[in-house]
Symmetry: C2
């Protein structure tokens, strides 16, 4: 036998389960500490996905127990109130790799591959030799099914034992209507800190505000993250592939496997974004008969079709126009909820959040959301904390190799007021930055789904969103600085000047001079001061805005403020009237303010809890700068209105907000309107960049 | 139908090929530029593996052509002179994922999974719809087989067309005896720079000095990296799994599948490191009958066996002693070749390399090799260049997420003379650091094999090796500084002092005083100066070492120098005699040197080319410091001898070097021997940390 034959004789087929058993670190089972987090993650992801698909509000319980500390044997038990899994499906879901429902579906989901939970079963079996106990109850059956699942890795098939049925009651004796419980033992280590089960669940609760999560740690301590909203995330619908994201080999296969009788039916039925008209045009541009059977297309026709789809073939010099894919396949968290989640979890002084409009990369819809929190008790001399999420799942490992981290590092943070060595890399400062990518096809660097792979378009979207937030931070810091300076000057003039005048008058034995004119002249500013305080008695948040005119001219203004209308707050005890300009934006047109005069606005916010709203953003319209408030950028306001309109059309927002757009321009008593500031927003920046 | 049933009805099995087609970025096919590098890499890896297994010196040719620049269609054609693949195996090797010979073998190889080249076929088909053309010639058949291979991703099976046989002649008309040629077209981008095909092949040639690589780029330019050694890497042997790296689930399976009639046979035959005696002891500690059939072991017995294997069960309080696994499953590059490869590729002033002794992690033998080059034309204000390798394959992507990078970052480089912001992270300076991990089971973070996953033990080994190199760098920099200072002082004294004396004498009209005593007194040092120059006429490298005694006492020394004996150089024209102390180390015992006296050593090196050897390291034995030379650390010398001995025993080193160890201690004319310096080496540091 020659050497070539000898070498070839050793070759054989490897089962996918053998592959992943050997490469279990691809699945996130590398260190003992990480293995436990991976197991919890896979189980929690599955529960949240199942609940969302079944439109149920998830209630999860995760219990970690140490079985043998010396040998690092740990038991994980996770329970959910989801739809459960029918008995005959249990063994495939848990005991067969690459078995699942989400692989071919084009929509946002946590699980995609059909690997995760089977990986947990495999790891348990490999490290402790024990199967995973599964209890599943579905609504249509009276009892729960129970079974012990293992994995024959040579064949990628489940092994099952001790299967049966039983009545499932909770500890308190209630009958469980539906749900799933998984119990498994594995070699693992429980640890605390930044990379821990606790942290994973805490992060999960930030981006899944509709979930109720209870964690019982090995010491028996109970950690509870209650749901902060009863609203389930929007239902996501599977979409067809979009022609822009199709590869030639894929198109060949789709044509080949199609049972459609004619091209137009095939094109409209198999793709998103293809109308009757564009289906015909695609055929025309490709020189294919619209009545041709897709199955019998010649290779050169398939190639031509792809070229037409991707705009390389045209009709009369123009590419065939295709619609964007629908974006109801995505489920962003939305700014308000990110903010609420963040502020509940991290103590800080300033929060800004932002959700970009959905985009499409290679035919896959995706959407970037970001949040930044600043100040509070966070350390000023350390790198900012990075909170990464993909499809509502926290990413805990491989931070350095992740696209989302790189997007943060690619921004020049010095210009926004944060320290950054050499003008690149992670900035330093008392801040945390959150980035969430929602996508129908999140491209991770490996099966463990801990870091996002390179993608120029997603990177650019994330970078833009982050820069926009950065600008918000810069404004906030500048405003703080300016206010502090003005305060100092004000105190100097108002306290010391009269004292000097009095002293001088005393010495010279002359009357104390009238100073108000001089003070006005020296200050030469309009100042606003805002106080937001919790009123114990009324259980309301009281807001007071005072405006001083320390200039020598009469001034006219419209004052605007933000309030958390979307959180359910209502604006009450508002004696000055005014009107609503957009959701969460109120405006008061003030009477002319004479030199040296002041005016006070008072109102309360009802429907909030203590700590929900601790600082109010104040804006103004008028020609003279108001220190302590921000000039209203009409473009921002316009965008908020557009966003509202879009959300209303999509049926997402229920609370009506009158469109008062038409009478916005006329304002401020003849003082000429300012143009919107030059710094145009690149996305839909929220106005709610207030402090809380 | 209930919701649970409805959800379950969508579940189905996904083929591994569908999985990797969707997740092609796991395999390294993310960006167009990287896809091309991945394709080249998979093909080159396979060729090098096949040649090594067949014990053939590899000659590779890689040609990249642009087929359609507008559509980014590129053709890759790779040819090797390896053993070829038998016709009937071709379709499985190229058209079936997870098919290969190296998955179950425990030894060092580039390919492991049986995924790589099939991934290339899959990517070509997906992006251009075309199959991959394979031409294979094996030595025992008169003609080559040709076939076009595609992949039915729904089934993970090859599709083949146009198969046949033909006579394979090279462009110059020679008949090809054996070899493999792969031609495929894919959507990809050719680019230059740090992440390019050119750079990948250049790096490959550094760590595969036995390979001859020719690259023809899309402009038709030919790049050739000839082999720098005719010696094939040591043959690697597959080993059995070691008991220390076994998991319970695996052991259960091994017992289950065993056909052995008794435990002792099973234990000795299935594991490495288990002798007859330890097999019996393992049974005893586990309370298993040594005659028991492995197949019929009860689960608790298997558990007990694992505990005994891992030292948790003991006999008379002692764990069962197992041997380490053999390390002939590894194939390190070896210091000399790393150095030769590096110095040919990167212009620099100083090189140090180091190969650590093999270690074992979880039953897997592994070995770390490092190299550092400093100075030359490298930029001083940038981060050092990092060259990462695993099993002789360059790693080009995901540098930040790789264990090898983290090992470099974990070292405090400031103490070794390099800039490092905040005392961590990549250092800055005119240096490049090479790290190579050779292992029977390299744990990558993903199938693309671009970054190593976390592993505490490997990390520690790499860190130690790097620190050792760092110490070498520090010494080099200190020596440079000291020499410069002495030089300055010497010039001052030797040039200016006589001038002043002369001038003074002139003015005072007195005779010029005799200064040599004063100079000696002021210098109070023994100085050595070494010159290494290329002699055009003789085609040899001439070395001159001069030793000055600028002290007031007579001094005795043994002077030692290094020369590249392993590169094939011989030491000639050595009129002062002396003797060889170890491979590449020559020694001269000098006659006593009186105050103010000097002595000159001259010799030449034959068998080198210009530029091969440009600076000589000089060492001394003696009590008074010699500026310009290094005190010989006898421990180092001893280690070189040990290493030589080990290599000779392993049959790797052919050139004999006499062991003169016994008469080393007696030396230097009664001047007491110095103890070896305190800074003990942690590995087998090379003495060849010289400049070149």
């Amino acid at each position: 036998m020659g050497i070539a034959q000898k070498l070839a004789s050793n070759q054989k087929q490897v089962a996918i389960s053998e592959f992943f058993e050997k490469n279990k670190h691809f699945l996130g089972f590398d260190s003992l500490a990480r293995s436990l987090i991976t197991a919890v993650k896979e189980s929690v992801d599955n529960s949240l996905d199942a609940c969302e698909e079944a439109r149920m509000l998830p209630t999860l319980k995760i219990q970690i127990s140490k079985i043998d500390s010396k040998k690092d044997i740990i038991e994980m038990k996770t329970t959910d109130n989801g739809p459960g899994i029918p008995q005959k499906s249990v063994e495939k879901v848990f005991g067969q790799l690459l078995f699942g429902s989400r692989f071919h579906a084009i929509r946002q989901s946590r699980g995609q591959q059909g690997i995760g939970i089977t990986g947990v079963v495999m790891y348990s079996q490999l490290t402790t030799g024990t199967p995973t106990h599964v209890r599943s109850k579905i609504a249509t059956e009276p009892t729960a099914s129970v079974v012990d699942i293992g994995l024959d890795t040579r064949k990628n098939k489940a092994t099952k034992s001790n299967s049966g049925r039983e009545i499932w009651q909770t500890d308190s004796g209630e009958f469980v209507e539906h749900g799933l419980e998984i119990t498994c033992r594995m070699k693992a280590k429980y640890q605390k800190g930044r990379q821990s089960v606790w942290q994973y669940l805490r992060m999960t609760s930030i981006v899944n505000p509709h979930a109720d999560i209870t964690f019982i740690d090995p010491e028996g301590e109970v950690h509870h993250w209650p749901r902060v909203t009863e609203r389930l995330p929007g239902k996501v619908e599977s979409i067809k592939p979009h022609p822009h994201g199709i590869h030639l080999g894929q198109l060949q296969r789709m044509c080949n496997e199609s049972q459609d009788s004619r091209m137009t039916v095939f094109l409209r039925g198999s793709f998103s974004g293809v109308s009757s008209r564009s289906a015909k045009e695609l055929c025309e541009a490709s020189e294919i008969d619209i009545k041709a059977k897709p199955k019998s297309l010649k290779p050169e026709h398939v190639r031509a079709l792809l070229e037409s789809m991707q705009g390389e073939r045209t009709i009369a010099g123009k590419p065939v126009k295709l619609l964007n894919p629908p974006t109801n396949c995505l489920s962003p968290i939305e700014e308000m909820l990110i903010k609420k989640g963040l502020s509940k979890t991290i103590d800080s002084r300033y929060i800004v959040t932002m959700t970009r409009a959905p985009s499409v990369s290679n035919g896959n819809p995706y959407q970037v959301e970001v949040g930044l929190i600043f100040g509070g008790s966070m350390p000023a001399d350390k790198h900012v904390e990075v909170l990464r999420f993909a499809n509502r799942v926290p990413l805990m490992y491989q931070q350095g190799g992740c696209l989302l981290t790189k997007a943060i590092e690619a921004v020049n943070w010095r210009q926004y007021g944060l320290d950054q060595a050499g003008g690149k890399g992670l900035p330093k400062g008392p801040a945390a930055i959150l980035v969430h990518l929602a996508s129908t096809n999140v491209q991770f660097t490996s099966e463990a789904k801990e870091a996002l792979a390179e993608n120029g378009e997603v990177m650019e979207e994330a970078r833009k969103a982050i820069m926009e937030m950065g600008r918000g931070l810069k404004k906030h810091l500048q405003k703080k600085k300016k206010m502090a300076k003005t305060q100092e000057k004000f105190e100097l003039i108002n306290d010391i000047l009269p004292a000097i005048a009095e002293k001088s008058a005393q010495i010279l034995e002359r009357p104390i001079p009238e100073l108000s004119g001089s003070i006005t002249k020296i200050m030469s500013a309009v100042i606003s001061e805002t106080q937001t305080t919790w009123n114990k008695e009324t259980k309301m948040t009281d807001v007071e805005i005072v405006l001083f005119n320390y200039t020598s001219r009469a001034r006219s203004y419209t004052i605007l403020c933000t309030w958390p209308e979307k959180f359910g707050a209502s604006l009450v005890n508002n004696e000055m009237g005014g009107r609503k300009e957009a959701t969460g934006v109120w405006a008061w047109k003030l009477a002319t303010l004479d030199p040296g005069e002041r005016v006070t606005l008072n109102y309360s916010l009802d429907g909030l809890e203590k700590g929900d709203w601790t600082e109010t953003d104040v804006f103004y319209r008028g020609s003279q700068e108001v220190i302590g408030a921000t000039k209203m950028d009409e473009k921002f306001l316009e965008e908020i209105r557009q966003q509202e309109k879009a959300l209303k059309e999509a049926g997402i927002v229920s609370n009506e907000s009158e469109n008062l757009q038409e009478d916005v321009a006329e304002d401020a008593e003849g003082i000429p309107m300012d143009k919107p500031t030059v710094e145009a927003p690149e996305g839909q920046q929220t106005l709610f960049g207030g402090e809380n």
